[in-house]
């Protein structure tokens, strides 16, 4: 039996692949290579003066204490957001998966926040927690806590973590729910008959069977936190106070767009690119082994 597809000409398969390849080349590889090239240049905003400086942009970057600090900020921010949004979404999904009245309405409401643009989500939270006008801020102040995200770095971080988590829960919820629904009822019922309680059933059956979903979400969430949250940070804190919420991707934006320092910004995006590639590789190599398909 012939497994190979039958093409009369040698050219046709390439031709069929061309659109996809063109998209990948034009929209991914070309900009990425431009960023790498840019990272070796020292250039003014208008591109009138350009100097090839080898690794000077990187040297400057790693000598900057701020840059190291934004690594720490990113780590705190991403761990907090990923952990919170994954665990809360799982909790909500488990709740929604049970036979309850109004389950459909509940599920629909859970999905809504995903339709909100990151910057809008940021503004929404900002309004609630804005020290002088926000509803929640006034409540917190009423409790006697001096809430001031404009000056207190921890408060600012809590605020962006909440906004970013809230935004991501719906997405995770959706996948967890789908994952839960694909677990065969018979397995769970068998365990129940064997006398396993709800908690034990969850940890020994449901959770392992859910691990491919959880793993997929972990990868997606890390990418989300690394790249897509800057709209929230920009709207809520502008990376402040004193860079307390300036994550790596926000710094790329701030130095490149606001600061017109394209070389450094490109160098930072190259570092970021390497980091995410490494993180994803590690995730696939080590964590995936523990995943049951």
């Amino acid at each position: 039996m012939q497994k190979r597809a039958i093409y009369d000409s040698k050219l046709l398969p390439y031709l069929l692949l061309l659109p996809q390849l063109a998209i990948v080349l034009i929209f991914f590889y070309w900009p990425a290579s431009q960023a790498v090239y840019q990272s070796f240049l020292l250039e003014d905003a208008f591109g009138l003066h350009s100097e090839f400086v080898w690794f000077e942009n990187f040297e400057h970057l790693f000598k900057e204490p701020d840059y190291w600090r934004s690594f720490v900020v990113t780590a705190v921010f991403s761990i907090a957001v990923a952990a919170l949004s994954l665990s809360l979404a799982l909790l909500f999904a488990v709740m929604a998966d049970r036979q309850i009245r109004g389950a459909n309405a509940y599920k629909t409401f859970m999905i809504w926040p995903y339709a909100v643009a990151p910057a809008v989500a940021g503004v929404l939270w900002l309004f609630m927690f804005q020290p002088s006008l926000g509803v929640v801020a006034q409540f917190i102040r009423g409790l006697g806590i001096e809430w001031n995200p404009l000056l207190n770095g921890t408060h600012a971080m809590v605020l962006v973590v909440m906004a970013a988590t809230w935004k991501q829960i719906s997405y995770n919820f959706l996948f967890f729910l789908a994952g839960l629904q694909s677990i065969p009822r018979s397995v769970i019922e068998a365990a129940a008959i064997d006398g396993a309680g709800a908690t034990r059933r969850f940890w020994t059956i449901v959770f392992p069977l859910l691990s491919p979903t959880a793993f997929f979400l972990l990868v997606v969430n890390v990418v989300y936190v690394f790249f897509d949250t800057f709209g929230i940070i920009d709207a809520v804190t502008l990376g402040g106070p004193s860079k307390a919420t300036s994550t790596l991707v926000y710094k790329v934006y701030d130095d490149g767009r606001a600061g017109a320092n394209l070389g450094s910004s490109a160098a930072q995006s190259v570092v970021l690119m390497v980091m995410v590639i490494a993180l994803t590789a590690i995730q696939f190599k080590y964590i995936e082994r523990k995943v049951h398909y």
Binding site: D44, A45, G153, S242, R257, A258
Partner: protein, 440 residues
Amino acid sequence: MSTRRFFLTATVASLAVLAGAAQAQAPVEIHWWHAMTGVNNDVINKLSNDFNASQAQYKIIPSYKGQYPDTLNAGIAAFRAGNAPHILQVFEVGTATMMGARGAVKPVHELMKESGERFDPNSYLPTIAGYYSTSKGEMLSMPFNSSTAIMWYNKDVFKKAGLDPEKPPKTWPETIDAAKKIRASGHPCGLSTAWVTWLLLEQFSAWHNLPLATKANGMEGYDAELRITSPLHVKMIATLAELQKDKTFDYGGRTNTGEGKFISGECGIYLNSSAFYGNVKANAKFEFGTSTMPYWPEAAGAPQNSVIGGASLWVMGGKKADEYKGVAKFFTFLSDTDRQAWLHQESGYLPITKAAYEKTKADGFYPKNPGRETPLIQLAGKPPTDNSRGIRLGNLVQIRDIWAEELEAAFAGTKTAQAALEAANSRGNAVLRQFERTVR
């Protein structure tokens, strides 16, 4: 790829020929990219329409490109792609960036000379035009919307605190005293500022005749170094950091997002741009007053004059001669006395020519609109010095961010004022050195 480009070019060229043949008398199009929204956007449209109606040779086409930084970036990106607009509105902090881009911009004084328009640099208000001129007085960009920082105060809050609402505090000790009384009368906040670095470093330095940087604040060379660690700078920040503890002073953020603090009545005294007028007038539910910025009496020569903020119109390089002629005509049209007086009285921005200021005075506008002359008194009170003519520091957007970070650390109490300003100074200098390398 190359054949496609060839076809595209050919098509465009033939279309252009056709269009040219069809209407040989079509006006020369002049593109104007700006960052104005709301009422100010209407002003831009009205100016363009009026100019287009006044003659048939040229046509101004204004387009909104987002906020100031977005508009600047749009202009830069368009220039890199080879299709920059003719006129680009750039905020004052972008001045050095634009000026450093020789070849990308066409200085206004050159433009006016080459196109034979009547142009007298002395007819413009020196503190406004000076900001956008070389140290030799050659105008680089056309001032458009200008403002300066002044003090806003809530007269109702003043009354409640037992202060005379018609006698606003003049000096910093008086202002702090007033803020303490406001706080003592049960108000959540005494005093706050918008645009913290513009107010407390840039305006502060000019107003006290202190250098913000060497080389006349960078106007005489790109090798300027910051000078924001003087004893008075440190005293100012240390005082406010101390007052932050009990909310006599309350930090209001880097931009103008804290304006609600004043509008809602939370803070009794607020330092902000004079362009805040429209917002206060529309939204404040109390009687407000304006006054000049406070100063430290021990500073010799204080108060000097404040510097401007706002934006100017830059002419981009590499355009055709007849297009430049149209731009020059438009600038002459903008500088017309009646038009400037109208702009000033309607929009809340400052007039750019001396004649427009005189006309507004003669119209009896200021007695009828109290507070509207405060920014002009501040700007024109004394002839500007090297410390107060303007600020021309490269990558100032980035430097302002650095300054704000350090000031935030001082106000949060994680750094002393001295340490914060020293860090702000040295980190800012590093950015200046990098800019110096790229413009060389």
